[in-house]
Symmetry: C2
Subunit: 354 residues, 2 copies
């Protein structure tokens, strides 16, 4: 099969970890006889510094031509405390999401037995937790009209959702629930927001079409509590963009394995695979960052973008083996810590030799 990728390393530790993931991608392509074609492109603060735009037109063209995009991370603290900056790395991310139509961000929340002691939660609460959080990614308050009035003294952000947007993501969420444990939790704030009432209305209309799936409704404030108290009660959770930003990050830390969790953003034009941890600027260039989340994102890419399940599985097996052997970076090492590139090499090597 022909695999056409766009590779966007981004900022901070992005380049290092994407390099490691590409080693595995190449090993897989070789082993399974896929024709691999890929092109690197600029994004984030790096792209601002080099061409003045965090998601340049050339990058967009490369993504549009690709079957899948492997993404590192973006963000640079020099932009964070400057509310008046006119170009920000995050704008690149948002532009990419919008222009590629990446409407669904999918984050598996999983625990690793060997890392349970790193979870902030009590072991018995979180052990075995396994759910998928799905966040709408191209609508809501992120992309509504925003601005100032009254000489800059009043600021506004508009949150808008259309029935089509809600239907599209709920359909995908129901499909996930159908393949899993048949429970969908729709998270909203229907007791206050009109947009949430539309979400709930659409969900209530669609639910009868999925008679084998239990649809449950939960207010976002309650969900923020349930994620900590009873994470094992969730199977698939779906919510709008802003709530999803908060809840998926909250959900990711309960596992104790933030550095290991991958994500997929499914789109109209292509799909993007990236680790959920950020650009971690403090570690950039030190060859200490954990590449596993990015390597697992590559596994998701084979599975979700190309339907190549065997390939994804072999990557996962290699990652498990590296962890079982203790070939891991300093953030999770119990004994000796390996460097980013040593872990990347070991995993690619495992794949090649298998």
């Amino acid at each position: 099969m022909k695999l056409k990728l766009a590779v966007l390393p981004g900022d901070g530790i992005g380049p290092e970890i994407v390099d490691q993931a590409m080693k595995s991608v190449k090993a897989i392509a070789e082993k399974f006889n896929h024709e691999l074609e890929y092109e690197f492109a600029l994004t984030g603060a790096t792209a601002i510094d080099q061409v003045g735009d965090p998601y340049p037109e050339t990058t967009h063209d490369i993504c549009m031509k690709a079957d899948a995009v492997l993404f590192g991370a973006i963000g640079d603290p020099k932009f964070d405390n400057n509310p008046k900056a006119t170009v920000r790395p995050e704008q690149g991310l948002l532009a990419m999401r919008k222009k590629l139509g990446l409407y669904a961000n999918i984050r598996p929340v999983e625990t690793f037995e060997s890392l349970l002691h790193k979870s902030p939660l009590r072991r018995e609460l979180v052990e075995g937790a396994n759910f998928v959080a799905i966040r709408e990614l191209t609508g809501g308050i992120y992309f509504g009209d925003k601005g100032r009035s009254d000489n800059g003294n009043t600021a506004y952000d508009h949150c808008v959702y259309t029935r089509e947007e809600v239907e599209r993501i709920l359909k995908l969420a129901y499909e996930f629930a159908g393949k899993r444990n048949k429970k969908l939790t729709v998270v909203d704030k229907a007791n206050v927001l009109e947009s949430s009432r539309l979400w709930r209305e659409v969900a209530q209309e669609m639910a009868p079409n999925y008679p084998d799936i239990k649809t449950e409704y939960m207010f976002v404030d309650n969900a923020a509590m349930q994620i900590i108290q009873w994470p094992k009660n969730f199977d698939v959770m779906v919510t709008e963009n802003m709530f999803g930003d908060i809840l998926t990050d909250e959900a990711s830390v309960i596992t104790g394995s933030l550095g290991l969790l991958p994500s997929a953003s499914m789109g109209i034009h292509t799909s993007v695979f990236e680790p959920i941890h950020g650009s971690y600027p403090q570690a950039a260039g030190k060859n200490i960052a954990n590449p596993i989340a990015t390597i697992l994102s590559a596994a998701m890419m084979f599975e979700y973008a190309f339907d190549l399940m065997e390939e994804g599985k072999l990557i996962r097996e290699a990652v498990d083996a590296s962890m079982a052997e203790g070939v891991v970076t300093t953030d999770i090492a119990e004994g000796k810590a390996f460097s980013t590139s040593e872990v990347g090499d070991w995993i690619a090597d495992y794949i090649a030799k298998k």
Copy 2:
């Protein structure tokens, strides 16, 4: 001193727990020779059922004339799954907040040594956590223009903040930080939202006026993680209405003592004191609900609304004594459980006899 109260029991367990708090209020008034005057009023689902309005004009009048309002809880599940209901209990709560100008919701997050084992977090992470979460309560997406267009197929909610609204709540937050450990965390989403950029701008302008207080800025998604991972790092946290709804609920469960936490909502016309747990309909009328959060809300009322610190302290002492003696309801009892009214009586009795 003359203490003029409005008492709003509300729905579910509201009436039972407010009854217990009133026993302590009366005991305090007697002991300290305050002239207590109070009037009960309807709110929530109860008010809808009786007069068709969740915050009737007569209730508002009673609140406006009061120096402080003691509030139970509102909410009834029969309204939750009906997105087309035109009158909802929550509207009463929102109307009350708006009409009384309750701009600042204040929630102390505290742990109780004897309840640490109920926390979903590991003991060492949460033990000793002690911070105050301040939520803006009358602005933002809760109160902006909202509605439908396109034959009901598009829904919108507008989030608006003015400089005055932001300044007012930040001033109060700085005052709290000044009396505590001199650290203020301003939570926003300034990398995406214009309203958040206004918040951050105003905070950056005000910060130099509080040179002894360290101002820290944190994105809301990061805050959702930090609350679980490092709750002891917070001293005072302040944020806008919607983020505050989510984060204060998240923060409340990490303590393991949700049933014990009080809150204050400071307003222009009066202030309201209420437990943060909800109306807990499943327990209503069973005389099993924990009244401590409401009794501690009464303690906050003496302290915040009347500046009667000794009075507040005696209530807290009585609550501590009831817990030390094991005179507690079933939710936290280790051995024998006491009923709601037994706990209420015991605490009021302790105050009277002291």
